[in-house]
Amino acid sequence: MVFVKYRATLAELTGKREERIEAQSIKDVLRYINAQYGKQTEKEAKRMLITVDSESILLRDGFKTRLNEDSVVGFFPISGGG
């Protein structure tokens, strides 16, 4: 079971801040979000900063990033400033 943390818009759309789900990759997590919370929420999730064990999936395999049993997946908003 991987641990998923929802932040910002995704916490609002899912009504949850975290949950445990079965998933082998980020694609699986997105599929789960689609099935559970609808296409719009999945679309929003894809727009966000996605992390696995606190590291951006951009530094790994993007949506194809593989997950372990105890992986922690995070969804965070994109921000700016400086």
């Binding site: 943390k5 932040r7 910002a8 894809k46 727009r47 966000m48 900063l49 996605i50 992390t51 606190s54 590291e55 951006s56 999936i57 951009l58 530094l59 993007g62 949506f63 995070g74 965070f76 908003p77 994109i78 921000s79 700016g80 400033g81 400086g82």
Partner: protein
């Protein structure tokens, strides 16, 4: 055409006031803000004066867009000799002061000399006077402003400025000209406050077209995902999560780039648990300011830098402490970045058994007191008021004193954003991300992701971004208003979409094209609303020819002028460097590329700038930029 700016010079020692009309040539070439101020500082001061010497000069000026109602255009500039680096400093500040200075009849105020007693400079409807500061001396920033008439634009210093803390700030309302020690320069001149008031409305060249343009621009800003959604919702503090995810969040004095409890000190957490409402600078539709409660009072909340530096960089996950320490710095009048970074350095000195200033990683309960002691230069903390470079020269630890040219780095770990590292090393004011071109936004914390480790293309992008930000600032705009240049489509697709990733990756390969563009600015005779609306706004406001090419030239002119000042004051290419922790010690021991490879980037950077191998602007380039030596 817009009327030429009128500056006023006050000699604080003699009380002599002199109006300085800015010539057509200077106005057209240097526009205003930091560019014009750099020119004047070069022209009007002799080399080698100490920043805190009475003879030193401080220029507080505006740009042609200040007070016109253009979005995010209330920012004013302060240029002076950098107390921490000995080179140039310019500080961009919000607050009412800039707009009020223009209404009082002046685009710029120049101060030299030293007042005999603690004083207040008044600029009221064109008249400049010096009055006794009386009971104001000794008060904090907040108390000082409360005692001054409500309707005035104010620029004040706190106890840190009075006690010549080398990173003392000046503040207008709750907005700070934080970096490089302008508070100390004012303190050294016995100036506690400057107030401005007037009723003159700034005019624009073509009001009908200008107002129409402004309406379109405001709409664009509000609809852009960055300026209409991300910044208003999370402020700059929203960057904590992103920086952490890319190993670019300075942790334990830049030893690491990730913090275990980053979630607890993130912008999301700040918004969810502490935000009372948003605030903004005058005429800003972005409204990035966080309002939070501290000691039962609603105050301005911390920016990203402060979140990082009073959080992960001192190994703390205490969000309440961050809010408190941010407020303490703001009332004492100290730059949060330099103060917190110097404290982190002192913590590491203690950890290494070198010196003990009573500060320890992870311990925040005594830091409010430490900040007070720094501001008043008291006890064991007095020396911290000199900044990390000074401390490292006295005690050692130069390899982990995290500064460039004496100015503490901003909160982006450059070993995971090497272009940002090049920017820090070459920024004229020292370790500043904004003056450094802010490549971190393209490499590690934005929606696009250039390869953060490769030196390829970084020199060219750094030059382009440094110049663009200089130009934006010169006209009186907030730099955040430039963040719409990353088109909305990427936010809609998301950072992990193949197209966004493709563009990010491809960017490192187009350095040559960027360089060509920088060399062919005369061909850029157009304005792109979606890329840089600022150029068109300047054109409509001033009536000058101002196309994208000229706009970039303006920024390049500013950067070269500042560089010339630094060279004149004795800085050299040897100062375009970073501490060895960042250049020699890989952040990830298994990845040798997680260092800032300055050697690979600097020569190309100088070449792209048209400078010689020693980093000196060539006569040819200065001539092309129409800069007289």
């Amino acid at each position: 055409m817009m009327q030429n700016p009128l500056y006023v010079h006050l000699d604080l020692g003699t009380g002599i006031v002199r109006q300085i009309p800015i010539s057509d040539e200077y106005f057209k070439k240097y526009i205003g803000g930091k560019t014009l101020a750099a020119r004047l500082l070069l022209d009007m001061t002799r080399p080698g004066i100490d920043s805190l010497d009475p003879e030193s000069m401080i220029i507080i000026n505006t740009g042609p867009l200040n007070g016109t109602g253009a979005p995010s255009s209330s920012r004013f500039n302060i240029t002076f000799k950098n107390v921490l680096s000995g080179g140039i400093a310019s500080s961009n500040c919000g607050g009412q002061f800039g707009v009020m200075l223009r209404r009082a009849g002046y685009e710029g105020l120049i101060l030299t000399g030293k007042a005999q007693n603690p004083s207040v400079v008044q600029v009221i409807d064109g008249e400049v006077t010096l009055v006794d500061a009386g009971e104001l001396w000794g008060l904090d920033m907040e108390e000082t402003q409360e005692k001054l008439p409500h309707a005035y634009g104010k620029l004040v210093i706190g106890p840190a400025g009075e006690n010549l803390v080398r990173f003392a700030s000046a503040g207008s309302g709750e907005r700070m000209a934080g970096r490089c020690g302008c508070g100390a320069v004012l303190g050294s001149k016995n100036v506690k406050a400057i107030v401005a008031y007037g009723t003159k409305r700034p005019e624009v060249h073509d009001p009908v077209k200008f107002n129409k343009f402004v309406r379109k621009w405001v709409k664009f800003i509000k609809n852009h995902p960055m300026t209409g959604e991300a910044l208003p919702r999370y402020g700059s503090a929203g960057l904590v999560s992103k920086a952490n995810a890319t190993h670019a969040l300075p942790t334990r004095n830049f030893k690491y780039g990730q913090f275990e409890n980053a979630d607890k000190v993130s912008g999301e957490m700040l918004t969810e648990t502490k935000l009372t409402r948003n605030g903004n600078c005058i005429s800003c539709p972005i409204r990035c300011e966080r309002r939070v409660m501290v000691r039962g009072k609603e105050v301005k909340g911390p920016e990203y830098e402060t979140m990082g530096f009073f959080g992960p960089n001192i190994d703390s996950d205490d969000l309440d402490a961050i809010l408190e320490l941010n407020y303490v710095c703001d009332t004492l009048g100290m730059d949060t970045i330099s103060a917190a970074s110097t404290i982190a350095f002192a913590m590491e000195l203690k950890e290494n058994g070198i010196a003990d200033f009573g500060v320890e990683f992870g311990k925040t309960d005594n830091l409010a007191e430490v900040l007070h002691k720094i501001a008043f230069r008291e006890g064991e903390c007095a020396e911290l008021a000199n900044g990390s470079k000074w401390l490292s020269e006295k005690y050692g630890g130069k390899e982990y004193a995290i500064h460039a040219k004496g100015l503490e780095l901003a909160s982006y770990e450059p070993r995971r954003s090497v272009g940002m590292g090049l920017g820090y090393a070459t920024a004229n004011r020292g370790g500043c991300h904004l003056n450094g071109g802010y490549l971190a936004l393209l490499e590690s914390v934005g929606v696009l992701s250039m390869d953060a480790q490769t030196p390829k293309g970084k020199a060219e992008f750094t030059v382009f971004m440094q110049d663009a930000l200089e130009a934006v600032s010169s006209a009186g705009f907030c730099l955040f208003s430039a963040q719409t240049f990353v088109t909305a489509i990427f936010f809609k697709l998301g950072p992990a979409h193949w197209f966004t990733r493709f563009v990010g990756r491809a960017a490192t390969r187009v350095g040559g094209a960027v360089r060509l563009m920088l060399r062919s600015t005369s061909l850029l005779r157009f304005n792109s609303f979606y890329l840089l609306p600022h150029a068109e706004a300047i054109r409509l406001a001033t009536g000058f020819k101002m196309y994208t090419g000229q706009f970039i030239d303006l920024g390049e002119r500013a950067f070269n002028l500042e560089r010339m000042y630094n060279l004149r004051e004795g800085l050299t290419s040897a100062d375009d460097t970073l501490p060895s922790r960042l250049t020699k010690d890989p952040q990830d021991k298994n990845r040798p590329d997680t260092v800032v490879s300055l050697d690979a980037m600097l020569p190309r950077y100088y070449k792209t700038r048209g400078w010689d191998e020693q980093g000196r602007p060539t006569a040819k380039r200065l001539n092309q930029l129409k800069i007289e030596v």
